[in-house]
Amino acid sequence: MIQEPLSYAASALSGPLLLVLAAFACLLLPLFFRQLRGTQGLIALGATLVAITFYRKAPPAEFSFFCGALLLSPLSAYLWAFALAVLALVLVLSIARPAAPEESQGEYYFLLFMAATGLMVLVAAGDLFTAFIALELLSLPLYALAGIRRSKPGLEAAYKYFMLGAFGSGMTVMGIAILNALYPALTFTALKTGPAQPLALAGFLLVISGFAFKTALVPFHMWVPDAYEGAPTQVSAFMAASVKAGGVIVLWRLFSLFNGGPIHAIFWWLAVITVVSANFMALAQKGLKRLLAYSSVAHAGYLAVAFFGGQRGFEAVLYYLPVYAMATIGAFSVALLLEKDEKGPLIEDLAGLAKARPWLAGAMSAFMFSLAGVPPLAGFFAKFYAFSGAVNSGYTGLVVIAVLMSAVSIYYYLKVTVIMYMKPAAAERPAEAPGMIEAVIFLLAAGVILAGLFSRPLLILAAEASRWF
C-alpha cells in the first residue's frame, strides 16, 4: 500500500512518460540502427505491455498536481488502464496488418503513442486549459494517422477530420477565453463554485460544442462517417474507442458543473437529436465501416442519456466505455480482416461468412448484438445501467426515446448477422490460417460475452472509480 501521494504519482506518471519514451524510440531508433527497421511495432507493443505490467492500483484518494492541472485518483487510474488496453489492442492489430506504408512505420507508432498520451492526460485533466491542450495532443496525431497511407480516401478523411476538428478546437478556445475572462481560475472545482453569469453561459456553450465535436454528438458528427471510412481500419478502431472516451469524460465534468438549467436542457436536446438521427442515418449505410461510424455516433447519444442519471449515470458511463470499446474494436477488427481496399468491406461482403468461417461469424454476431444491446451480452447491461440511472432521476421521456431508437438500431445490427448467416457467398472465400487479428477478435468476443454474463466485477471497478469524480 502506497501512502505517500508523491510516490504514487511517480509510479502512476511513469506510465505516460514510458509511452512518450517509447514513441521517441519508435521514431528515432530505426533511423540509427538499420536492423531495427520494421520492428517498431514490437518495440511499441513491448513498451505498452511494460506499462500495463507495472500498472498499480490507485490508493483511495485524489491527488492534485501541477496547480490542479492533473488529478490522480482511482478514476484516472481506471481510465488509464482503459487507454492502455485500447492502445495495446490497436498495436496488435497494427503489427498483424501494418496500417502505414513501410517508410512511415516509425511516425505511425509515434503518433499513436502521442494520441494515447493525450487521452491519458485528457481524462485526468483538472482544468479546462489542460483539457484543451490534451485534446489537441489526442486529435492532432489522429488527423495525420487518418491519412498516413497518403491514399485518396485517407487524405480526404484526414482533411475533413482536420478541418472540422480545427473548427471545434477554435470554438473550445473561444469558450475558454470567455470563461478565463470571467472566472479567476479554470479548474473544474473553481468553475463549479463560481457565480453564475450570463456571459459564462456563452463560454460554456462554446466549450461544450468543441468537446461535442470530438465525442461526435449530432449536429457535430459530420466528420465521423468520412473519417472512420477513409482512415486505416486500425486507426478507426482507436478513434472510436479513445476519442469518444476522452470527450465523454470532459463533457461529464462540464455537465456536472450545473444543476439543471439551460446547459442540461441543451444536453437533453443533444442526446435526443443524436440518438434519433444517428440511428436513422445508420439504416441506409452499405459499408461496414460507415455503419460502425454511425453506430459510434448513436452510442455517443446513449452516453449523453446516461449523464442524466447523476452519480449512478457516471458509474454507467464508466462501465459503458470499455464495453463499447470491446465491441467496436472487435467489429473493426473483423472489417480489417475482410477488407480488400481502403474503404473496408461492404456489409454485403460478409455474405456466407458463417459457412466459411463460423467462429468469426459468431464473434461478429456477438459484437453486433452487444452494440444493439441484446441480453445477456455486455452491451445490454451497459445500456440498462445507463438508462436506469436516467429513469431514476425522472428523465423517463428521454429514456423512452433512447430505448425506441435502440430498437431501431437492432434492425441494422441484425442485418449484418442475417447477411452472414442467411445469404450465400458471392465468391468462394480463400481459406486463411488464423493469425493475430483473429486472436484479438476472439479475445474481445470473449470479453463482450463474459462482461455480460458476469457484469459484477467490471461494474464494481466502475463504481469504485466513479466515486472519485
Binding site: 512518450v20 521514431l27 498536481f65 501541477f66 496547480c67 492541472a69 492533473l70 502505414a100 506504408p101 517508410e103 512511415s104 511516425e107 505511425y108 509515434f110 503518433l111 502521442m114 498520451t117 492526460v121 486549459f129 489542460t130 491542450i133 490534451a134 489537441e136 495532443l137 492532432l140 496525431p141 488527423y143 495525420a144 494517422l145 491519412g147 498516413i148 497518403r150 487524405l155 484526414a158
Partner: protein, 177 residues
C-alpha cells in the same frame, strides 16, 4: 526626443514597406516587403520599450510565419502564375474597405490621445511571463511541446512522398505547360 524619432522612423518604414507590398505583383518580392514591414513593427515595439513583444514579433511573425509563406509559395507553383485579378469591381470594393478601415484607425488614434496611460500594462514583462510559463503553467507548457512535436511529425509523415517527388519546381512546370 530620440524615442520619438525612432517611433517615427520605424512607423514610417513599416507604412512604406506595407504600401510597396500592396502594389507589388511578384509574390516573393511582396513577401520580402512584408518581412520588412514586420521587422520595422518590431523596431516600433522596441522603441516603445516592449522588448518581449519585439522579440516575439521577430520570432513568430518575421521568423516562423514568413518562412511558412515562402515555403507555401515554393510548393504551390500555381501561386507564381496567378497574378492579382484586374477586375475593376473588386478594386472599388477593396478601396472602399480600405477607406473604412482608415477612417476607423484615424478615429481610434484620436481617441487614444485622450486615453489614460495604464500602469499595469507596462509591468507585464518578460519576467512575469516566464514566471507563469515555468511556474503555474509548467505542465501545460511541457504538454504543448509534445503537441508541437506531434504536429511536426504528423506534417512530415503526411508530406513525405513515397519515392517520386510530389511537388515539381515552378520552372519545370512552366516548361511543361
Amino acid at each position: 526626443m530620440i524615442i520619438a524619432a525612432a517611433v517615427y522612423l520605424f512607423g514610417g518604414l513599416a507604412a512604406l514597406a506595407t504600401l510597396l507590398m500592396l502594389f507589388q505583383r511578384d509574390p516573393v518580392k511582396a513577401a520580402m516587403l512584408m518581412l520588412a514591414a514586420l521587422l520595422s513593427t518590431a523596431g516600433l515595439y522596441l522603441a516603445l520599450s516592449a522588448q518581449l513583444l519585439a522579440a516575439l514579433q521577430i520570432i513568430l511573425y518575421a521568423g516562423a510565419i514568413m518562412t511558412l509563406f515562402i515555403v507555401a509559395l515554393t510548393t504551390t507553383p500555381a501561386a507564381w502564375r496567378d497574378k492579382p485579378a484586374k477586375a475593376s469591381f473588386t478594386k472599388v470594393l477593396g478601396l472602399a474597405a480600405a477607406a473604412v478601415i482608415l477612417t476607423e484607425l484615424l478615429k481610434l488614434s484620436a481617441a487614444l490621445k485622450t486615453a489614460a496611460f495604464s500602469r499595469a500594462f507596462s509591468e507585464t514583462g518578460t519576467l512575469e511571463l516566464a514566471r507563469a510559463l515555468f511556474g503555474r503553467f509548467a505542465f501545460q507548457f511541457e504538454l504543448l511541446s509534445l503537441v508541437i512535436l506531434a504536429s511536426i511529425v504528423a506534417a512530415v509523415a503526411l508530406a513525405a512522398s513515397s519515392g517520386k517527388p510530389a511537388v515539381q519546381p515552378p520552372a519545370e512546370k512552366k516548361e511543361a505547360a
